[in-house]
């Protein structure tokens, strides 16, 4: 098994595990430094972990609902801990989002199961949520031997009661919790497009010195909204943002998330890995 070098000062470049990755890694064993795997994939298909025989693994997660008001169940947390220890991931990236919430008929006093989704959702961006995330994170962090870092969500619409912008919300959470930031540049660009803000200006307001890892993927604009799209190549604007971030800080890792389509063009993967290396070197 291969493990991430915890002491490396290089910016590692990796791929999120998806249908094209095993073959790509096998054909190009030295081109990337690691593979990022969602805990949920390892839980449902443990055989996915065999990629660690070829490359180190960084663990990603969408199950802890850190911005939610319903705690993740202990069994899930224990399973995440086991995977973190088994993979020796240097950190666990978790969405700054919620994936479960109270059932809406809970007011009747009857015990009802919380609503659990299969996709993380951008939370209400308010002081109340900032506090909640800080509390959740403090409790969750005690369970793991490696740091939890938080990934900014894509904002597709205004969540009622939100009083903070995406940048202010992320900044408040990172500053108060002291957590590292997993800066998803595509999520960031999507949020800026959907809230009509200038991404190049707003990115400078983020706590970039806290960035541990960067995510890059594609986006598509449909039905009047910009959406996350891991089946399409990242647009040039995302690489412009990467240049701006790397001009200021050195994250530990940059991950390309092209993990939705088995037909994602390999030529684009090559080109984008090369582009990241060039930006890192410049």
């Amino acid at each position: 098994m291969k493990y991430v070098d915890a002491h490396s000062r290089e910016v590692a470049v990796g791929l999120a595990l998806g249908p094209i990755v095993p073959e790509f890694v096998s054909a190009n064993p030295d081109l990337i430094d690691y593979v990022e795997i969602p805990f949920e994939q390892l839980r449902h298909s443990p055989e996915a972990g065999s990629i660690q025989q070829s490359l180190p693994v960084i663990l990603h997660c969408a199950s802890m609902s850190v911005a939610g008001f319903v705690p993740a169940d202990q069994e899930t947390l224990n399973a995440i801990k086991r995977e973190a220890e088994r993979t020796r991931t240097p950190w666990i990236g978790e969405h700054l989002a919620f994936i479960s919430a109270e059932a809406i008929d809970n007011d009747k006093g009857e015990p009802t199961k919380p609503t659990s989704l299969t996709y993380t959702v951008c939370p209400q961006m308010s002081e109340e949520t900032v506090e909640r995330v800080t509390d959740n994170l403090a409790a969750l962090q005690t369970l793991f031997n490696v740091p939890l870092i938080l990934e900014n969500s894509p904002q597709y619409f205004h969540v009622p009661g939100s009083s903070l912008s995406m940048v202010d919300f992320v900044t408040a959470v990172i500053e108060r919790s002291g957590a590292g930031l997993l800066l998803d540049l595509t999520h960031f660009l999507i949020s800026m497009l959907n809230t009509r803000k200038d991404a190049t200006h707003e990115i400078e307001r983020l706590p970039l010195e806290q960035v541990v890892e960067v995510h890059i993927s594609g986006l598509s604009v449909q039905s009047g909204i910009a959406w996350d799209d891991h089946a399409s190549p990242a647009p040039p604007e995302v690489f412009d943002l990467l240049e701006r971030v790397l001009a200021r800080v050195r994250p530990r890792a940059v991950t390309l998330e092209y993990n939705w389509s088995p037909h994602f063009p390999e030529s684009v993967v090559f080109r984008h890995i090369d582009q990241i290396h060039q930006i890192v070197r410049s």
């Binding site: 008001f69 479960s100 109270e102 609503t115 959702v121 619409f157 009661g161 449909q222 959406w227 799209d229």
Partner: protein, 268 residues
Amino acid sequence: MIAGRIHAIMAAGLEDPDLLARWQQQPELMRTCGVDPTTFDLDALRKFAGLSAKVRHNGLRFSLPSTFRFLSLAGLEIEVFAAYAAKHSRERKPYAATNEARIVDLVEFLQDWLDPNQPEHSMLWDLIRHETALAQLRNLVAEAGQPDCEKDPTARSVPHIAGHIILHEMNSDPRQLEKLLRRKSFDPEKVRPVRVRLGYWKPGDGTEVYILELDELGYHLLSLVDGRRSVADFSRRFNGKSRPARNLLRAFADLAQLGVICFDEQAA
């Protein structure tokens, strides 16, 4: 507004897009949940449920690469999957367990949902049927060797399909559409509207799937071949006479020559 309550409303709507539709029709229902309906962008939530449904169908991309590329380039992904998620929610029907069954369900949904008068909907309908037919036939296991059978039809011959065939009448040629989709930029205006009749055929003992471009007569003959009707039955159906016309015999002979059908002799 209390964050936990807002999250609860959003989660309930995303889990049950039919509930979102009811809230859109009767906003006052949301007040019973303790929130002001005017503060929620329910249409955006509905679309987000579509994104979630789309991601849950990523497994279909193996068999339907061009369909998904077209959905994306035509800007139809979110609307299609939002409507699909709402339908499943309305019918309280979970998504099928296998990709094969999910493809069948999606095709069934699109048959009702798509508007054939919209050129892009029509192209999508052609493309998904094309890729589905190929995927379904490729998944069939080859059978043991084909029995020898008669290739020259007479009135008493009973044609049957040699292997498996799926027939589709298309409003554009999905093969041309696939070529255009492989280009750097896709222009739907370049897709020529043309009636094409395609037969997706896998010989029983074969591993290849062939696409046959059929004329109108050949297409209709194949669509009626059931292994029971004789050539005389076909003739009666077409011109009221048991004695088959020469062009009917020739059409059957041509199909037999291709190997798509062969004949058994009807018992006297």
